[in-house]
Amino acid sequence: MLRFPDEEIHSDMNQPASPSLFQFVLYMADNCLVLGHRLGEWCGHGPVLEQDIAMTNISLDLIGQARLYYQYAAELEGKGRTEDDLAYLRSEREYTNALLVELPNGDFAHTIARQFLFDAWHLPFLKTMLSSPDPGLADIAGKAVKEVTYHLKWSREWVLRLGDGTEESQLRMQVALDEAWMYRLELLMPAPFEQWLIDAGVIAGPDEIREEWERTITDTIREATLVLPEDPAVQTGGKTGIHTEHLGHMLADLQYMQRAYPGLEW
């Protein structure tokens, strides 16, 4: 674990050793868990068997990554909370995932648009995290980057197939992209805990990935014969716990068993 110069400021017993790192690790965990849960909602409902399995595979990859982050966060916090406590016993205001990942599945095109816009950020960001001076982050990135390389390949190809497909699929893909568009930028807008880590050299800033992120998105949309959305609106809030109305419902589902039967085990 790295030691940070601001530990003095946060040295009271209720604060973790490195509050920004703890918050960042939780943020990454929440992104992965929430998106993983959304994809899991497709289980048994996929458009074809093969894609049903593809989506639940990605779901399991993301939930696996979320576990690594939650375990690390619990360790950083050092207050005896476990990965399960962090996943099942925090309210929506305590979840700090980006809004994009909590958007409902919608039709298959909405799921693809959400996934593609997330993957287009996730992969280049993880690549920078590989060389983080924080060994915990670098380790998780090492495992996740292979999985996420496949996620982006999968979601990108579906944008291409639907965009450059039938009239119906193109229309649906365009609508889905237009609707998700205003949520994509939040991932590149550092929250205070990220800014602190960027300044400390622990994680990369948005400028280090912006070019690859933008190129992936614009090239794919162009190749898919879709129109680049022009809506300048940007939705943010997730990173500070201000969510869309969708997250609470999702968490009610995700956390039901632990809330109803505290401490329940398999």
Binding site: P47, V48, L49, E50, Q51, I53, A54, N57, K153, W154, E157, R161
Partner: protein, 93 residues
């Protein structure tokens, strides 16, 4: 999506082994077939290489002709190298 063609999937489980037929799936083209095969048939670490071939390109022998195709080989035991004593040192052949 009912018009997606059927593909046969062959997986090599380890380098040095042959690709083995593991099943079939639906996909729009070979690229999707390989990705689907990856998701459907290699989730439990089963493979290092995937082949797919559209099912319509596989031509099969006729089960009706089984006797004329295969029966005649059954009584030709001399085609098996079972009449030699293999020294222990040779090991598995």
């Amino acid at each position: 999506m009912k018009e997606w063609p059927l593909w046969e999937v062959f997986i090599r489980s380890r380098n040095g082994l042959d690709h083995k037929h593991v099943g079939s799936l639906h996909a729009a083209d070979w690229e999707m077939a390989i990705e689907n095969a990856r998701d459907v048939y290699t989730r439990r670490n089963e493979g290092v290489s995937i082949w797919v071939v559209e099912s319509k390109y596989i031509h099969a022998s006729d089960p009706e002709e089984q006797d004329s195709m295969f029966e005649s080989a059954r009584d030709k035991v001399y085609r098996h190298p079972t009449f030699y004593d293999i020294p222990d040192e040779v090991g598995h052949m």
